[in-house]
Symmetry: C2
Subunit: 303 residues, 2 copies
C-alpha cells in the first residue's frame, strides 16, 4: 500500500523525569512522535530502526494508528536508542544524563518501494548524510521538510547545507537559526536561511509558539497555554507532524494553507505535552484536535 | 483644551552609538516617544520635565505634532535627563555608559486641569509612587496602562504592585514578566500577572514582536521585519503610543479592538527604529502608517 507521507527519524526509549513524575523506557523518538501525530491526518510511513528490546505493545501502538511499517526495521544487534534526561521546574531545555545510540548508531535507512512516490517527506533530525540519501531516493515529492539541531550545525555543516539546499521547508529553533546563519539579529537570520535554499522556514520558539517565514511573509502561531504541561519531550516533532499532516490532508500549498497547518502544528504540540511520552495518543479523538485547533484559531483572528 | 489621552514619563537627551552611526543629545525619553507617536491618532497631553539645556526646536517639534504641553515643565535648576549608551551589532539590549537624571531626579508630576478628564492614561516607566499619584489624580479614566522595568521590580516591589493593581493594562517585557511574577514558566507568569489586577497584559518580545493576554485570550503580533533598523531606542514606548493611540481613536475596547491596536503598536515601533531618535517623525505621513499596518495585518491573517 502506498503512503502519502514518509518520515525518517529516530525510534527511542526515553527514561525521564519531569516535575510531574517519571517514566522508564517510554516510547519516544522523532519518527515515533511525528508519525503518531500525522496518522490523525494522512497515511504515513515510518522509516526507523528499533532494537531487540523493543516491546511488541509499542509496535502494536504504531500499527493501531495505521502507520505503515514497511520502513520499520527491528535489529537484533542491540537495544533501541535510549535517552535519559530530566526537566526542571520551568520545563525548559532538558538536561541529558546519558544518550546510548545503540542500534541507531548504524542506522542506514532504506526506502521501501511503497514509499518511493511519497508526496510529502519529513526528514527528522538525523545525520545530514542520511537526509541527503533519502532526498535522492524519493521520486519528486511535492514537498520535503527537514529538521536539524545544533550538533549537525557544528559537526557536519557542509553536508547539512547541501541537504537544506534541496528541501522546501526548514524546521529550526530560534537559537539554531542564529547559529546556522551566523547572524546576530533574528530578522537577518531569517533572510539568510531563506537564501540557503528552502522557500519557507518554520522557527520553533518554545513556550511562545512558532513562526513561519517566506521571502515575503511572516506568520506567528502561539503555543496553546497549557496549564497542565507534563512532559515537553516530542513537542517539536509533534508540531511538525501536525503541520505536515494537515498539509497532506488538505493539499493546499498556498500561504493560507500553510498558516492553517501552523495552527494544527501548535495544536498537536500542545496535546503531546499534556502527558508523558505518546500517552496523549492512547485515546485521542478528532473532536479534541478540532477543538484545540479552533481555540488557537480564535487566538490569531482579529475580527 | 481638554486632552483625550495623557502620558506621564521622561523627557531625555540620548547620546548614543549604533552600528549605523551616532547622535549627541538626541531627543528621547518615554513621554516624548509615546506622545509623538500617539499624536498621529488622538489629542495627547504630555506630563514631563526638561532642563535648561532643552532646545527650543525640540519644543517646537512637540508643538508641531499638536501635543498639549500644559503638563510640560521646563526647569531652570539643571539639565535635561541624559542617557549615554550604545548598541552592538545585534541591536539587542543597550549598554549604558552613563545615566544623569538631572532635573528628572526631582520630577514631581502635576496634573493640569485640562487633563483631569483624560480618557486614556499611560504611565510610562517612572517611579511607582509617581504612577500611583497620577492614578489618584485623574477622574475615572476609561483605561489606564502602566509600563515598568526591572529597576522598580527590584527596588520598589510593593509600591509597584499597588500601582499595578489599579491599572487595566500592564506593559512588560518577557524577562521582567518572569521576574515580577516569580515564575519560571512563561505561561504561568502570564496567569500570575493577570491575578495582580490588570485584566490585560502586553508583553514585549523584542525582535519577535509582542503578545497580549487576558484570562481567556492570547494574541501575537510580529515585529515588522525591518532590514533597515538604525536605532532601537524608543521601540517599546512607540509601540505603546501606537497601541494606546489607536484605542483612543477608534474607542473599541473589545478584544477585536485591542488586536487591531496591537498591529498599530507594532507598526509604530517599526517606524521609530528606522531612524535615530524621533527622526522618523519629521516627515511621517498617515499613508505610511496605514501601509505598514496593512502589511502587518496580512502577516496575521490566515485566509
Amino acid at each position: 500500500m502506498s503512503v502519502k507521507m514518509t518520515v525518517v527519524g529516530s525510534i527511542a526509549y526515553d527514561t525521564l523525569e519531569t516535575p510531574k513524575g517519571k517514566r522508564e523506557k517510554a516510547l519516544g523518538g522523532s519518527a515515533v512522535y511525528f508519525s503518531t501525530v500525522a496518522s490523525y491526518f494522512t497515511k504515513v510511513g515510518l522509516i526507523g530502526v528499533a532494537g531487540k528490546d523493543f516491546a511488541p505493545e509499542h509496535k502494536d501502538f504504531l500499527i493501531k494508528h495505521g502507520i505503515d511499517l514497511s520502513g520499520f526495521e527491528l535489529s537484533e544487534s542491540g537495544n533501541t536508542f535510549n535517552w535519559v534526561g530530566s526537566y526542571g521546574e520551568d520545563f525548559g531545555d532538558a538536561t541529558t544524563h546519558s544518550t546510548c545510540l545503540n542500534v541507531f548508531e548504524s542506522f542506514n535507512p532504506k526506502l521501501p518501494e511503497a514509499y518511493e512516490n511519497t508526496e510529502y517527506l519529513f526528514l527528522a533530525n538525523i545525520h545530514p548524510a542520511l537526509q541527503l540519501q533519502m532526498i535522492d531516493k524519493t521520486k519528486n515529492p511535492k514537498l520535503i521538510a527537514l529538521d536539524t539541531m545544533n550538533l549537525w550545525i557544528n559537526t557536519t555543516n557542509d553536508l547539512l547545507k547541501q541537504a537544506i539546499k534541496k528541501v522546501d521547508i526548514l524546521f529550526i529553533n530560534q537559537q539554531e537559526a542564529l547559529m546556522l546563519s551566523g547572524e546576530k539579529k533574528f530578522a537577518n537570520a531569517v533572510e539568510k536561511l531563506l537564501e540557503m535554499g528552502p522557500n519557507r522556514i518554520v522557527i520553533k520558539l518554545g513556550e511562545l509558539g512558532a513562526m513561519t517565514a517566506t521571502k515575503n511573509s511572516r506568520f506567528f502561531v502561539p503555543a496553546f497555554p497549557c496549564p497542565d504541561i507534563t512532559d515537553p519531550t516530542g513537542a517539536g516533532d509533534s508540531f511538525a507532524g501536525g503541520f505536515m499532516g494537515s498539509l497532506a490532508r488538505h493539499g493546499n500549498l498556498t500561504e493560507s494553507g500553510f498558516r492553517t497547518s501552523m495552527l494544527y502544528g501548535s495544536a498537536m504540540g500542545s496535546i503531546t505535552v499534556e502527558n508523558f511520552s505518546i500517552e496523549s495518543y492512547y485515546n485521542l479523538t478528532n473532536e479534541k484536535i478540532e477543538t484545540r485547533f479552533n481555540e488557537l484559531k480564535k487566538m490569531v483572528t482579529i475580527d
